[in-house]
């Protein structure tokens, strides 16, 4: 019902942009220069939407605004904007729009309800913006986790038919799963019958991780290969016993070297010194 | 809050109906970008449960839905039969494999393969089982 007033904001687009920019800078946000294009587009699209769609947030015009806002939020994560700056983006816009309304309307009842409406619209957009920002953040983190996982589990073909996977760093449940899938795939890819999983670089193992390790060994055996776990630190050995985890049937060796010796034995290979 | 984005119902009356069910579940899994391993888990669990449907429930209906909540995408499958119902659920949910005997209804195994597992049974009125597998588990 106060859309008429909000609709007329479009005529004041330029002033709004200037005010918005000033407010952002006053808040200490980074200079508005690089944002100008996308912000101008955002403002323009939003004011168009206010003008044409009677506040119907499901309309096509508003969809365009929402999509753009999502894009802006996600790109701002990547460009290193803080969450505060992200929030201030829309808060400042709201303030700028409010100031203009004050200038163009004198009737306080009309002013009050259009401000209320403006708040409703922009607050919802703020939520959208936060969600997208968070999603963007999570995407960055997942990608980084993926990269770290890949680097931190190298696969070494130590011999024909024997492959070693030394794990470095903390093993949590999800990382162990990745290691497990990786190990099994390596067995297929390299045609190795024995995989040595070395955990000397792992400081601690909890019950869930131990279960996954046992699962890994069982799965390798189902596939027709075998898995030796080496490098179990004394502390881990103690934890395993205290947790009541049953390691019978799992071949464990103190070091990768002895695991290799065991693997040779299993493949009936002998290393002989030349005369 | 979970929203449903897609839904299909399959009627299971004979053994040959299991194969199209598996394809359908795979299709839904692929559509939400589920990893191969998770697809395998989901389809295997569905396979177990649909065989139960046939064997003990006298056939029934399976509903497959793609679902989403704030953080993840998933596939939800509901198995409904109007068979005799399960006498003792707590017994049915116990693992039998350690004794080396048959797997019974395979319910605990199927439960381990998915993220959410709900079962409702009424003697003489049938059983409804709902499972959900999320992408990020």
């Amino acid at each position: 019902m106060q859309y008429g007033l909000l609709a007329s904001l479009k005529e004041h687009q330029n002033t709004l942009l200037t005010t918005w920019s000033q407010l952002l800078q006053a808040n200490g946000s980074t200079e508005g220069v690089t944002e100008e294009e996308e912000s101008k587009e955002f403002a323009s699209l939003l004011l168009d939407a206010l003008q044409h769609s009677n506040g119907n947030t499901k309309s096509e015009e508003f969809e365009k605004v929402h999509d753009l806002l999502i894009g802006i939020s996600i790109s701002r994560v990547r460009r290193g904007f803080s969450i505060r700056e992200n929030a201030q983006y829309l808060i400042a816009f709201k303030e700028a729009a409010s100031k203009i309304l004050l200038e163009i309307e004198s009737d306080s009842a009309a002013l009050y309800s259009s401000n209320l409406e403006l708040s409703r619209l922009l607050d919802n957009m703020a939520i959208l913006s936060f969600e997208s920002y968070m999603k963007g953040h999570e995407d960055v983190i997942s990608r980084q986790i993926g990269e770290i996982s890949e680097i931190s589990t190298p696969v070494i073909r130590v011999w024909d038919g024997i492959v070693a996977l030394p794990i470095i760093g903390t093993l949590d449940s999800s990382r162990t799963q990745v290691v497990m899938e990786n190990l099994l795939q390596q067995i297929v890819d390299t045609g190795s019958s024995i995989a040595i999983l070395d955990i000397s670089g792992v400081p601690a193992v909890d019950s869930l991780v131990a279960q996954h390790l046992i699962k890994t060994v069982s799965a390798t055996r189902l596939m027709g290969a075998d898995c030796i776990i080496s490098g179990i630190r004394p502390e881990i050995a103690q934890t395993v016993v205290h947790l009541g985890i049953d390691l019978t049937g799992i071949i464990t060796k103190a070091s990768l070297a002895s695991a290799l010796q065991t693997a040779f034995d299993m493949l009936q290979l002998t290393v002989v010194k030349r005369k | 809050m979970t929203t449903v984005t897609n839904k299909e119902v399959l009627l299971i009356a004979k053994e040959q109906d299991v194969v199209p069910l598996r394809s359908k579940v795979k299709e839904y899994g692929v559509n939400i970008g589920m990893s191969i391993l998770n697809q395998t888990r989901l389809i295997t669990a569905a396979s177990e449960l649909v065989r139960n449907l046939l064997k003990y429930g006298g056939g029934g209906k399976v509903t497959i839905e793609s679902v989403s909540n704030a953080r993840d995408l998933g596939v939800r499958i509901t198995f409904i039969d109007k068979g005799a119902g399960i006498q003792d659920i707590s017994l049915a949910m116990q693992d039998g494999y350690s004794t080396g005997k048959s797997l019974g209804l395979g319910l605990p195994g199927a439960k381990r393969l998915v993220n959410e597992f709900h079962i409702h049974t009424e003697l003489g009125n049938g059983t409804t089982i709902t499972i959900v597998k999320w992408n990020k588990g």
Binding site: L184, V188, K215 | T40
Partner: protein
Amino acid sequence: MERIPILKMGDFLLVTIQVDLYDQLAENLETDLIETIKKNNSKGVLIDISAVSIIDSFMGRILGNIAVMSKIMDAQTVVVGMQPAVAITLVELGLSLNGVISALNVEKGMDLLRAKMYNGDNEEQTYDDRNQ
């Protein structure tokens, strides 16, 4: 009626499973295998499951059955080519596939069968720590 082909490879038989095994098909396979083992006096059966992406308890039972039936006919069964995702799922499902021996591929499977033939399968080749 669809039947799964059984290939003769010397003393051994090779079965490659590429379709979903439903009741009738599985039963036919068991019957065909037993007859073929008898007819050829086969010493081993290789079941190639590299194309199988889902193994549920039904399929597990079939594999177990085949292993036991063949053993009675004095033939050893080796399952080859299990996919990693299948292996992980089987472990999580709790299906232990007792009585079924596995190898990574057909070649290794045949090596295993030959070794068992010559060593006799009474001595289980279990690994143990031997003091050198």
